[in-house]
């Protein structure tokens, strides 16, 4: 297994280098240091101030090739900063990026963890419920509702949720965030409801299929023949044996709890890392974007390896070659 992990880590490293290279190429295809400077110091700043900003931030170096000092280029600096975890300061406002990551992680987790936990519990419970009543109108109705909810764009859930729940019913604030303990729950409720509503349909459909497939296997029939109750069959036998697909779907998601949701955070004004990513893209903040993309990739690669390893933990039959 160790050899497998080492091999996967090496593949992951290559992927990481590719991601960083792609980010560099795409970013500088789109934006120039002048554009970054203009965003940072303002539209009215004279050209000499823009030049000064570019020099102060090190964007005056050649991008890829410097015949005199081959290692003094933006590309080398880009890799050096990412791979040494020395993210530096944001281009947009000069704040240390590690500080921005620390500040953003809390709000992201505050929304993502309850969304993940409640979403998972709710989806599994609902999937078990409809799987138990399979072939009845409850099952069919469940499938129809799931397909309907899957077919609607998350944006519509957000705007509709803000309009219906925030504006018309006035249950929760339409948007915003305040980490004060007395009010934080108010701000999280609406995005949480939207997150559950938009994500639960697909999950329930998937888990239902898994549970129904497992429910038809011989060991389930044997358990029933031996007098095992329905509830026990579903929770102790079917659920336990359906863990691999559930794990595949969930473990990969866990790292992204830290990086937050781009859409939800942006629309609900939650100052997490998702929102920070959107700001970095809009503000041409290359340094912040590099840190976020690098960490996101790292977490994703790590999660892929962790998912593979977790298979062997839940199913002793799985072996790594």
């Amino acid at each position: 297994m160790l050899a497998y992990i080492v091999r996967r880590t090496a593949y992951g490293f290559v992927t990481l280098i590719g991601v960083l290279l792609l980010l560099f190429v795409l970013f500088f295809l789109y934006a120039s240091p002048h554009e970054m400077a203009r965003r940072a110091v303002g539209e009215k700043a004279p050209p000499e101030v823009l030049e000064q900003w570019i020099v102060n931030h090190g964007y005056d170096k050649p991008k890829v090739w410097n015949p005199e000092h081959p290692f003094d280029t933006l590309l080398v600096e880009h890799f050096r900063r990412a791979l040494s975890f020395d993210f530096g300061r944001g281009d947009a406002d000069g704040t240390p990026i590690t500080q921005r990551l620390r500040e953003g992680m809390g709000p992201s987790l505050a929304l993502a963890v309850p969304s993940f936990v409640f979403g998972l519990l709710f989806s599994v419970a609902l999937a078990l419920f409809v799987a138990y009543f399979r072939e009845t109108y409850i099952d069919r109705m469940g499938v129809i509702v799931c397909v309907l909810t899957m077919s609607i764009s998350t944006l519509l859930y957000i705007i509709g949720g803000q309009f219906l729940i925030g504006k018309l019913l006035r249950w929760f604030p339409i948007s915003g965030f305040d980490a004060s303990p007395s009010v934080i729950v108010r701000f999280l409720m609406l995005p949480l409801v939207v997150s559950l509503a938009s994500g639960v349909g697909g999950s329930v459909r998937f888990y239902r299929t898994v549970f129904i497939e497992e429910g038809g296997r011989d060991y389930v029939r044997t358990a029933r023949a031996k007098g095992c109750g329905d509830l026990r069959v579903m929770t102790h036998h079917v659920l336990r044996n359906a863990l691999i697909p559930i794990l595949t779907r969930t473990v990969v998601v866990i790292p992204f709890l830290f990086t937050g949701s781009l859409l939800l955070e942006s629309f609900f004004g939650i100052p997490g890392l998702g929102s920070l990513t959107v700001d970095a893209v809009q503000g041409n903040d290359f340094a912040t974007l590099r840190a976020l993309v690098f960490i996101g990739s790292l977490l994703f690669i790590g999660a892929q390896i962790a998912t593979d390893v977790s298979y062997s933990l839940v199913d002793p039959r799985v072996r790594f070659e």
Binding site: H34, G42, Q52, T95, F133, Q162, G166, R170, R186, G269
Partner: protein
């Protein structure tokens, strides 16, 4: 245990069932709630150059001068300075302004002051702080966007260069205390500190507009201790996030991405020394004729020391629609009007009945700005090298652009059609002036085009419609629809104008390379002086020659000569005559097609007092007051949660599912 958890969850959900985004304890306080569309990048007054940031820095830092809150045209009044200084001509042609500071004005309390005196929480504002802040602007490492503005101060550039050279020569130099670095670089010779309370600014040539810059946070006194202490090291804040000023409010909470709280500063000179009657620190007793009927000269406020509010609270709101809805719920005190909601809010130019019933107020104001279509005068077809032919082409194109229709179609009719670069409220603007080339006249335009040699819009060289390029830095659908409006109007002349839209970055590249023909742009004033608009067409600032803001590359010797005279003239008949002549040149030459000056419609709730929209980015929070009781009552009335749909949904789900379960279980048995 599970039941207990479910009960706890249910109760907490019930408790959370309110749309009030603020803690209940804040209900009775005089708090002005404002949205910010994006987090401030910096609150360092030397660097911040953004209207939203100036709303914060403008009340945290006390400036030497201010604008009268109610008077229009804008009038300068003393702030921290005892009076507005007058220019003093020196024998060698230089000009000096001497500022006398009020004695005894204090900064807000801040731990930074322990650097100067271990037991101090604050200290007096002194003339050296003004000089220090000017040196910060000149410091190249800050990349202040206004560094060039002050270049007329004697020795300004030389100081910047000395400082940069010293830092480059010895890296240890940059590790010294910041004020020591400035002192070692010799300071700025044209900024002379005379004693504790006087500072003289010496300019190498007349620049009367300098005084306007002393109303802005850029030049507000800053204590060196704050810059030194808040360096971002060892867990300390950065100075840009931790402003320390002598203004009416001070920052007590800075959650960059969500919430910024400013509390009333008890050290503010207006509160500590009401006996001074400092004009910028008491509510004014006079204003425009319309101010009294609108309640802006209420005796309950006139002459009272400022500010009236306990707190100003900013919340980051990136999306327009939620922000506007929160305003309608009473959680923001003022708001612009969403285009989609305009008809519901405004009816025939006045507040709709429904909104008036809710006690709202509508304030209209014209921004000191101008939006225009420009011709690149370096271009061989539309520019000055095309001579009379090019001039007539520009005149013809100007005659068919209908700004009023544009405002009606795209902006609910908001916007004052522009006749010249000068907007209302700026000296030199004359409401009765009608630019003959800004009145839609298709027949005359066709005549002019024929006289230019493009009869029916046909280019005689090709025999096809004259092809022109409209270069723009906006590729959005919304932008394209707007640009197409102008193209359609020009097509009535038979011209083939192609929209060459690129992203803003590529557009800037085109501008830098002088590779554009026709473009669209706007300008928002920094200060209320005609110089701040007419310089946009001064030949010395042509983009192609000096990379200046004259993007039209307009260069007319007579205009340039008049500009130099107008720039230094006092407001009066002589200056007006100069402006009229400059305007006549622009009218004939048509380097621009003036489009409109933006018109702002702002909604305020009835509990907000003393509101007067200010087109410039003036911080108005210190004049405004709130009636918190009225606000609480109205909010409570508007925001009762509607709970029955939750019950109905739960009941409906049960009604659908339970029979199925019962039937299923029965069949199983």
């Amino acid at each position: 245990m599970a039941r207990f958890a479910a009960l706890a969850l249910g109760l907490s959900l019930l408790a959370a069932c309110t749309n009030n985004p603020y803690p209940d304890a804040d209900q009775g306080l005089k708090i002005l709630y404002r949205p910010l569309a994006e987090p401030p990048r910096t609150l360092d007054p030397a660097v911040s150059y953004n209207a939203a940031e100036h709303q914060i820095t403008g009340v945290v830092y006390a400036t030497l001068l201010d604008y009268h809150y109610l008077a229009r045209p804008y009038r300068l009044i003393p702030g921290l300075a005892r009076e507005v200084p007058h220019a003093r001509r020196l024998p060698d042609g230089r000009v000096a302004y001497r500022f006398r500071l009020r004695e005894g004005a204090l900064y807000q309390d801040d731990p930074a002051f322990a650097l100067g005196d271990a037991s101090a929480l604050t200290r007096e504002v002194v003339a050296g702080d003004v000089a220090f802040q000017l040196m910060r602007i000149a410091d190249p490492s800050l990349a202040s966007p206004v560094i060039a503005t002050f270049a007329k101060i004697e020795g300004w550039d030389a100081f910047s260069q000395r400082l940069a050279a010293l830092r480059e020569a010895d890296p240890a130099f940059g590790q010294q205390r910041i004020d020591a670095q400035y002192a070692a670089a010799g300071g700025i010779p044209g900024v002379k500190v005379a004693g504790r309370y006087q500072v003289e600014i010496v300019l190498s040539e007349p620049y009367p507009q300098l005084l306007y810059w002393f109303t802005m946070p850029f030049t507000a006194p800053v204590p060196w201790e704050a810059v030194e202490r808040w360096d971002g090291e060892e867990g300390r804040d950065f100075f840009k996030d931790h402003p320390v000023g002598a203004g009416p409010f001070f920052v007590t909470r800075f959650d960059r991405q969500s919430r910024i709280v400013l509390d009333r500063n008890p050290n503010y000179y207006g509160l500590r020394h009401p006996e001074w009657g400092a004009p910028a620190a008491v509510y004014p007793s006079e204003g425009e004729p319309g101010d009294a009927p609108l309640g802006r000269l209420d005796p309950a406020y006139v002459g009272r020391p400022l500010p009236f509010l306990d707190r100003v609270e900013y919340r980051i709101e990136k999306e327009d629609i939620p922000t506007f809805n929160k305003f309608l719920q009473g959680y923001y005190d003022a708001s612009g009007i969403l285009q989609e909601s305009f008809d519901k809010m405004v009816h025939e130019g006045a507040l709709s009945e429904e909104m008036a019933r809710n006690g709202m107020q509508l304030e209209k104001s014209v921004d000191p700005d101008v939006y225009y279509i420009g011709f690149n005068m370096d271009d061989g077809v539309v520019g000055s090298s095309a001579g009379e032919q090019g001039r007539k082409l520009r005149q013809a194109m100007s005659l068919v652009v209908d700004s009023r229709e544009f405002a009606r179609v795209f902006n609910n009719g908001r916007g004052v059609p522009a006749q010249s670069p000068l907007p209302p409220g700026i000296f030199g603007y004359e409401a009765d002036y009608v630019n003959p080339y800004r009145q839609v006249d298709l027949a005359r335009a066709k005549e002019l085009l024929a006289a230019a040699g493009y009869a029916g819009g046909t280019d005689p060289k090709t025999g096809k419609p004259l092809h022109l390029s409209f270069d723009l830095g906006d590729t959005s659908t919304r932008g394209r629809v707007r640009f197409q409006f102008f193209v359609n109007q020009w097509s009535r002349l038979g011209l083939d104008v192609e929209i060459a839209a690129t992203n803003y970055n590529q557009f800037q590249e085109k501008i830098r390379k002088n590779a554009y023909q026709i473009f669209m742009w706007g300008w928002i004033a920094d200060y209320p002086d005609p110089e701040n608009f007419l310089f946009l067409l001064w030949g010395q600032l042509a983009q192609s020659k000096r990379h200046g803001p004259n993007t039209a590359n307009f260069a007319n010797p007579r205009y340039d000569e008049l500009f130099l005279r107008m720039k230094v003239a006092e407001n009066g008949e002589a200056r007006l005559a100069l402006i009229r002549e400059m305007r006549a040149i622009l009218e004939r030459e048509r380097p621009w097609i003036e489009l409109f000056h933006r018109e702002n419609y702002t909604l305020f709730h009835g509990w907000v007092r003393n509101v007067k929209p200010a087109g410039l980015s003036l911080p108005t929070a210190r004049y405004v007051d709130i009636d918190p009781e009225l606000r609480s009552r109205r909010r409570a009335g508007w925001n009762q949660p509607v709970r029955w749909p939750a019950v109905a949904l739960a009941a409906g789900t049960l009604a659908l599912v339970v029979p199925g379960i019962v039937t299923f279980l029965r069949e199983r048995q």
